[in-house]
């Protein structure tokens, strides 16, 4: 065996290795981008959403309102819908709370008689202004930013409220 063929074989081996690494990278980089793309936000994902005419929310009451999430795909079905609690304090003063308990995200229910929000999962309770009353939640209910436009109530939403990213 001559040194020439030795080096040619060595070169072919390295070429083979290199081409495969290159191929793997050419496929792998977009794959990683594809998988982690879900975690990257093109925008902050938040948008102003109408909840309906202000008249629909009597003063002094807390009512459930629903909207369609602004960031959605055609096959979301009913899961594109989001619920929130609207408390009209008086006039144009509102509080809009996410239904998700600040503890682990279960849907809290409003009880007008005791003026408390109660969570069915682990027993978290909140006062009517959303502040924590008792149980495991580490904070009060997540509160939406709101504004009133042309007699309608709008909130800024578009994502699942969590401790690391409140509404």
């Amino acid at each position: 065996m001559t040194p020439v063929s030795q080096s040619r074989r060595g070169f072919l081996f390295k070429l083979g290795l290199g081409l495969n690494v290159l191929g793997a990278a050419l496929v792998g980089v977009p794959v990683v981008g594809y998988i982690f793309g879900a975690a990257r936000r093109r925008t902050d994902g938040q948008a102003w959403i109408p909840l309906g005419p202000v008249n629909g929310f009597p003063a002094g009451q807390t009512r459930l309102a629903t909207y369609e999430n602004p960031v959605r795909v055609a096959w979301d079905g009913a899961t594109a819908k989001v619920a929130c609690w609207v408390r009209r304090i008086e006039g144009e003063r509102f509080q809009v709370f996410a239904v998700n308990c600040a503890h682990l995200g279960c849907p809290v229910r409003w009880f007008p008689q005791s003026r408390l929000f109660m969570c069915p999962c682990h027993g978290g309770a909140y006062y009517e202004d959303g502040s924590r009353a008792s149980g495991p939640p580490p904070r009060g209910l997540f509160e939406y930013e709101y504004r009133i436009n042309d007699g309608a109530l709008w909130v800024r939403g578009g994502q699942l409220p969590t401790l690391s990213r409140p509404v």
Partner: protein, 471 residues
């Protein structure tokens, strides 16, 4: 059948080309210690049988199931009520998953108590821990594919846990959900994980697990006083197998076969008797009158989340699983030699007993959820007659306040109502009027303050009523 029959000749033709018959013969007839032909050694095979059952029923379900957020629920109802035997396949897949988690846990406890994690089978144990985690992963993702209210809010719980990770919480939530909310993209990725990713890993790992069992040999029955020593163990084991071994098939395999048959038939029986599980409630997030609950394998965790002191929660939720999984991986390195018999390993036995009792107690609490308010108690629970009889109008008014202000969501009277707060029977013997007023107005000790929600007249009536509650 003659040697020249068509079946024989076809088999010979195949064997000449594949050689698989010889290979299978070597595997099946490999010698094992006589002591391992025991009923205690059947759980691994039984778990494998259930895995095969899950693969078979899973493929069948995927023929009909629609992994799309707007179609999944309908396709499950179609499976339950219209597809021929669809209900049966869903039921077998559900009960099979329960049985697989249960029997795999028995297998894990058995090999630990028999010292099978010790030298030279450390890697077999580690691969087994991976299999355990992957199977729990299958259980969680499978529960999500049921795409009902429990699945939807279960994902909310998962996302809320992920969000507590410092720094990367938001990224983890987005990765988990495939987008900003629980919706179409979430279900698609859980489908891919449940149907392709984790089963693929499981099949590879099961192969490795079995290869290690074949290569190193099945753990012999542990005899007290027979200490594992790295220098001598392999030689002693080989001697035992050669002197007093039996062929795995059929000597040890007979019991495995019986056990596999029993678990499969038990799963089928459960499926026929109890039917498929769910789906419960359409996954519409605006229907909030729901009390989501996980399947039984995660009830203990669910209970733990309710009972941990809030300030420890984030640390325990994030660090706890890492510590627990890390401990499982470290077991063969912390106790890799020495006594194998459970009769000489009191600490190991105690650890198993404590873990089993803890998980079982938490899971039991997860079934009764004593910490959750009983949301219907204020309208549905009657006031016991003995607490109404002979009371003044003011006290009766107080009984109404107690009912209308939903006190019974958390406090029981006559055994009916929530268990979150103390029962109010006999409260008058424990607190004075002033203490009762203070507690109602200011709350405290995990009770909300009602100062702003009750008029002075209501507080007066309520306390007057409670002051009459004696045994």
């Amino acid at each position: 059948m003659s040697d020249s029959g068509p079946v024989r000749s076809t088999l010979r033709w195949l064997e000449e080309r594949t050689g698989l018959g010889d290979a299978a013969g070597l595997v099946l007839e490999h010698p094992v210690p006589r002591s391992t032909a025991s009923w205690w050694y059947v759980f691994g095979s039984a778990t494998l049988a259930l895995f095969v059952l899950q693969i078979a029923t899973g493929i069948c379900l995927a023929l009909v199931y629609v992994p799309s957020a707007d179609g999944a629920y309908q396709s499950l109802l179609y499976l339950n009520f219209q597809a021929p035997f669809g209900w049966f396949l869903r039921a077998v897949h559900f009960w099979g998953s329960n049985a697989m988690v249960a029997i795999m846990t028995l297998h894990m406890i058995q090999v630990f108590l028999f010292g099978a994690h010790k030298y030279p089978r450390e890697l077999t144990w580690i691969v087994g821990v991976f299999l355990f985690l992957c199977t729990l992963g299958m259980a969680f993702t499978g529960q999500i594919l049921r795409w009902d209210q429990d699945a939807y809010w279960g994902l909310g719980i998962g996302a809320s846990i992920a969000s507590r990770a410092p720094g990367v919480g938001d990224t983890l939530v987005q990765l988990l959900l495939g987008g900003p909310i629980i919706a179409g993209r979430t279900l698609s990725r859980f489908f891919a994980v449940h149907v392709f990713l984790v089963p693929g890993i499981l099949i590879g790992m099961i192969g490795l697990h079995l290869w290690l069992v074949l290569r190193i040999g099945i753990n012999e029955w542990p005899m007290p006083g027979r200490v594992v020593n790295r220098e001598t163990y392999r030689r002693k084991y080989d001697d035992e197998v050669h002197k007093d071994g039996v062929a795995f098939f059929p000597h040890a395999a007979r019991k495995d076969m019986v056990a596999c048959g029993i678990v499969v038939i038990a799963v089928v029986l459960c499926a026929v008797l109890f039917g498929p599980f769910g789906p419960h409630g359409v996954p519409d997030p605006t229907l909030i009158d729901t009390a989501p609950k996980p399947d039984f394998y995660f009830l203990a965790l669910y209970a733990l989340f309710a009972l941990l002191p809030p300030w420890t929660e984030t640390v325990v939720i994030l660090v706890g699983p890492l510590v627990a999984i890390g401990a499982l991986f470290l077991v063969p390195f912390l106790a890799g030699t020495g006594e194998k018999s459970w009769t000489r390993r009191p600490v190991s036995v105690l650890v198993v007993v404590v873990i089993v009792l803890t998980v079982a107690t938490l899971a039991g609490l997860g079934v009764t959820v004593p910490w959750s308010p009983k949301m219907e108690a204020w309208t549905a629970a009657a006031t016991p007659v003995r607490y109404v009889k002979g009371r003044t109008p003011l006290e009766l008014q107080g009984a109404l306040v107690l009912q209308n202000k939903q006190c019974r969501a958390c406090h029981s009277l006559g055994g009916e109502g929530g268990k979150r707060g103390p029962a109010l029977d006999g409260i008058a013997t424990r607190q004075t009027r002033d203490q009762l007023i203070r507690q109602v107005l200011q709350g405290g000790g995990n009770m909300p303050a009602y100062g702003k929600n009750l008029s002075p007249a209501e507080v007066n009536a309520l306390v007057a009523f409670m002051a009459t509650l004696r045994p």
